[in-house]
């Protein structure tokens, strides 16, 4: 028996595994791409334009732009503060806080919507006292924004925490030794050094808010012009006008693809600036 060449059975086995894994990978890839292709190919341009003229589209577009912008602001500002505290003031509690922050990712959105209802609804935990003050949140545009904040915040906070962890602690010590107050060190050094990752985290979070469906439906309902965002408009239009549903979907896919493209280009461009300076791996507490 030869020592140098592998036995015949084994090379046949290797070829089998190579072919098998390629086919499996290609199948999954095709499965991911095919529906998106179908979305674009099964509609004529004239139908697409007619679909976009459907009366639900414009109010839903306007509402989606407004609510996702509002939720982005409500996520990014406190989210940056939370991430900074998690990185700079770690303690026994930070492990739990990080777990809590990740919760909305694993909770089904519909459950999240129900939970929001039980918290802010008329008979809810906080909603009851709000109701006595004449404030009712469910089934309003504010409810849409809150649902979007709930589901999208984790994406930003996790990205921001990772970004701040990559900022060398020595940079901040140097900044302080040069006379910078903690506030100046944060805004002039930590924030710009982390900004490329913060921007991509904000973009991912915004995309999640734009696609929000389940929690919004449960907590805010489906009222044209007030709580009917683009994904809900797709759902509603499907019952009456498939072309409109398809047109909105194509619009959402184009937005998503452009965002991905911009993020990848941004990461490549800033890679030289702030993403690849030497970083110390700090133990997670």
């Amino acid at each position: 028996m030869s020592q140098t060449s592998p036995p015949r059975g084994r090379s046949w086995q290797a070829a089998f595994w190579a072919a098998g894994s390629t086919i499996a990978a290609a199948t999954l890839l095709a499965f991911l791409v095919l529906p998106v292709v179908a979305l674009g190919f099964s509609i004529r341009p004239a139908d697409l334009i007619a679909g976009l003229r459907h009366p639900t589209v414009l109010p839903a577009l306007r509402l989606s732009l407004f609510t996702t912008s509002a939720s982005l602001v409500l996520v990014v500002i406190p989210g940056t503060a939370l991430a900074w505290l998690l990185v700079r003031r770690p303690g026994v509690w930070s492990h739990w806080v990080e777990t809590v922050v990740q919760l909305p990712v694993v909770i089904p959105p519909a459950v999240g919507g129900l939970a929001l209802l039980l918290a802010f609804g008329r008979h809810g935990l906080i909603g009851r006292s709000l109701a006595t003050m004449g404030i009712a949140i469910p089934f309003t545009t504010l409810a849409v924004v809150l649902a979007e904040v709930f589901v999208s915040a984790p994406f930003f906070v996790l990205a921001a925490t990772a970004a701040f962890r990559r900022v060398e602690p020595s940079l901040l010590i140097v900044a302080r030794s040069l006379g910078a107050s903690p506030v100046r060190a944060f805004f002039r050094v930590a924030l710009p050094a982390a900004s490329p990752s913060l921007v991509s985290g904000a973009a991912m979070s915004w995309a999640r808010a734009l696609g929000e469906f389940g929690a919004t439906l449960m907590f805010a309902g489906n009222l044209t012009g007030r709580t009917q965002t683009l994904p809900l408009a797709v759902y509603t239009a499907l019952e009456t006008d498939v072309r409109a549903a398809q047109a909105i979907s194509i619009l959402l896919v184009i937005v998503a693809l452009s965002l991905l493209f911009l993020l990848r280009r941004g990461a490549a461009a800033s890679g030289g600036l702030a993403l690849d300076f030497p970083s110390r791996v700090e133990p997670r507490r």
Binding site: S177, L273, A274
Partner: protein, 241 residues
């Protein structure tokens, strides 16, 4: 007048008890020791980034820290310049921007004036031609000079350099072994230079303090250390030269 830096601190850092008493004036003090001996921790205590449990730090008669009196100046009020081991250059600012940052915090200067002063400082360290470059494109020796220019921009009363020569390759290192000590001598500032290399230690002068497991075990010239080494580490240190 030569200003004086006095350190007398105690504190627990990680698993290490740091207990150090040192004073220096007008010339560099070289701090040598094995890894995890507490050298960088001591620098951080002087900078105000790490709080000792007991003791005091005094610079030019000014108390920077005093546990008994409850004095603990924040780093920005201490006037201690710092060049960390990896130079700590701000990656999102140009070279001249890095140096201008050292000018903008302490004094209210017009933008144009800051830039002019920053260029002057860079020129004094022979790196003015790098002004518009970003730190990532600098070599080790260039980064070291820029970091030093930036530290000097804030007009510190003391200077701390952590392993200033460790990351340099042989040629640049030889050159910087002459350049850095001569600059420090011109400044007449109390300076602490951390190193683990006996050759670097010798280049920075005659005042060497050996720190092991958080304590100063011996202080003197390299020759004095060689004559009566106080520990196995010192024996090894002087034999490596």
């Amino acid at each position: 007048m030569k200003s004086r830096l006095e350190i007398d601190v105690e504190g627990r850092v990680g698993g290490l008890d740091v207990q150090v008493r040192l004073a220096t004036a007008g010339k560099p003090l070289v701090l040598v020791g094995p890894n995890a001996a507490g050298k960088t921790s001591l620098l951080l205590m002087i900078l105000g980034a790490l709080r000792p449990e007991r003791g005091r730090v005094k610079l030019d008669g000014r108390l920077l820290f005093d546990a008994e009196q409850g004095i603990d100046l924040p780093p920005e009020d201490r006037g201690v310049g710092y060049v960390p081991q990896d130079y700590g250059l701000f990656p999102h600012m140009t070279v001249v921007g890095n140096v201008a940052f050292g000018l903008e915090c302490r004094r209210r200067l017009a933008r144009r004036e800051r830039r002019r002063r920053a260029l002057e400082l860079l020129d004094a360290l022979e790196v003015a031609h790098l002004a518009s470059r970003f730190p990532r494109s600098l070599s080790g020796g260039e980064g070291q000079r820029v970091a030093l220019a930036r530290a000097l921009a804030s007009e510190p009363q003391a200077l701390l350099l952590d392993e200033p020569l460790a990351a340099l390759d042989a040629g640049v290192r030889r050159q910087m072994r002459e350049f850095l000590p001569s600059r420090l001598a011109m400044l007449e500032l109390p300076a602490i230079v951390v190193t683990h290399d006996p050759g670097d230690a010798a280049a920075f002068g005659q005042d060497i303090a050996v720190i092991e497991q958080g304590r100063v075990v011996q202080r003197g010239t390299l020759a004095a250390l060689a004559e009566a080494p106080a520990s196995a580490f010192v024996t090894e240190l002087v034999s490596r030269r």
